[in-house]
Symmetry: C2
Subunit: 128 residues, 2 copies
């Protein structure tokens, strides 16, 4: 029901005003940001920004369970953050777009100025 790009992109065209910037594809964009909203995935992206790496490499360097790493890699693959190629028995992952590290760096800069806010963020029952 919500899985088609087309159905989404035309959703807001049914008689409302057209907003200046973009009619807003907030659901997709939010999903994209959630792709970056996990520490393990960020660590994977950071490692891959240095060099191509196999799943085994990542498992060793992160010190995490292999299914966990594989699952997060699958997530990153789906969202187009990473691509892969086979080399002998191993599968090597790499970043697909150099703007991904830029995006992360920009967020990091923003975060730096209010890390206290974010860290302290403890709404009643939920975190931020």
């Amino acid at each position: 029901m919500t899985s088609s790009v087309e159905s989404y992109l035309t959703r807001s065209g049914s008689g409302a005003f057209r907003l200046p910037q973009a009619p807003a594809e907030p659901d997709l964009l939010a999903k994209y940001f959630r792709g970056l909203g996990d520490p393990t995935r960020l660590r994977i992206l950071e490692l891959l920004s240095e060099a191509e790496a196999s799943v085994g490499d990542l498992v060793a360097r992160l010190g995490l369970a292999q299914p966990k790493v594989s699952n997060h890699l699958a997530c990153l693959r789906w969202c187009g953050f990473v691509a892969w190629r086979r080399e002998r028995r191993t599968i090597l992952y790499r970043l697909t777009d150099e703007r991904v590290p830029e995006l992360i760096a920009l967020a990091r800069g923003l975060l730096r100025d209010n890390a206290q806010h974010v860290a302290a963020c403890r709404r009643i029952d939920r975190s931020c």
Copy 2:
């Protein structure tokens, strides 16, 4: 236990190699990205990037329940995305940093090139 900035920022300094870019503050950064990982919050930020607005304005323009909008505003406040001031009876929210729209625009550009991936992302039981 995990609420202190200091304890976090020194966590990775206990005898490991210092990574080139940053020792990585992935938990905080992930939390920050999750702050952007909700369509309602993105729509709020988009509206606020045009002009200061009261809660009532946002409720009307988004067509959403007031507690829902207030909750998301609280979230954005905690993470330092927005600030507020009182004007008579109403409270006016605004963006705190002009880099926030930049960040969103950059992500939007990245997304545009693989929106199909993201939209199609349907791992077995979980979304991306």
